[in-house]
């Protein structure tokens, strides 16, 4: 696996992280079109980093975002393992690097500065997403189109 890849788009936000070391603890998997990487309502604890291909994010079958090379999904489950809030599905054959909760613990034991950077990076992504809809939460619209638009901003692309 090379570090000279699209996945660096997110990793480059993490500062001085040793990308080679990080990639060595990530599991790599390839999904076929239509396969779920994350299923809403099912337990989930892993961060997904798209190497190539594309994922769609669905909330109650409404598409709210698409995720491409260098972007991430699943950060909420990594930081707070639990039932997934959305389904993340491959729209085409897609290669992912996966950081599970267990491998994060291993990373913390062996390379604490990298684990720390991953936690901070994932936290910043979620904080940015929440800030994007901050003014909307207390005055949600009554129509689905407006609500799906807010979900689109909440799940919007984040490297």
């Amino acid at each position: 696996m090379s570090s000279n890849t699209a996945s660096r788009a997110f990793l480059d936000h993490l500062g001085d992280v040793d990308v080679e070391v990080l990639l060595s603890v990530l599991k790599t998997t390839t999904l076929e079109a239509g396969a779920d990487a994350i299923t809403a309502g099912k337990p989930h604890d892993s961060l997904l980093l798209v190497e190539w291909g594309e994922l769609t994010v669905l909330v109650d079958e409404h598409e709210v975002s698409r995720i491409g090379p260098g972007e991430i999904a699943g950060e909420v489950g990594l930081l707070s393992p639990g039932l997934a809030t959305a389904t993340v599905r491959a729209t085409q054959q897609t290669m992912l690097h996966v950081l599970t909760g267990e491998s994060l613990q291993d990373l913390w034991r062996d390379h604490p500065s990298i684990a720390s950077s991953m936690i901070q990076g994932a936290t910043r992504v979620i904080a940015t997403r929440i800030r994007a809809i901050e003014g909307d939460v207390d005055k949600l619209p009554d129509h689905n189109q407006g609500l799906i638009g807010i979900l689109g901003r909440l799940f919007g692309r984040a490297a």
Partner: protein, 133 residues
Amino acid sequence: MSIEDVLNRLPDFGSLSEQDLQALSAALEPRSFSDGDRIIEQGREGNGAHFVVSGTVRVELFGVIAMIDHRPRSASCIAIGDVETAFLSRQAFEMLAHRHATVAYPFQRAVGAQVAADFREVVERIRGRLKSS
């Protein structure tokens, strides 16, 4: 209950060494609040974090995001009855993290978990409205 007892009960802090726990405890400042006091004021810049030692605090959504993006707080935290907290200033935290690097990680995990919980709450709130419209 001492602040060491409070920290030991928090899942992300249980793995800290005795030395790290003592260093963290020494950096904390005790604060007292009465019923209705605003422990954190909406719109103010986030300059630290409170550990609740005793009592109950009503925390509105987005309570910890100001600690991450250094923008004004978007929520208030209000005391319900008498509340005792241990306050860790941003400056004290940064000094602590520099001298005791292992102390920083449980904080990062705890803050990340809270932000993720806020995200889930927002999604569920919108999903609830989607189903009813």
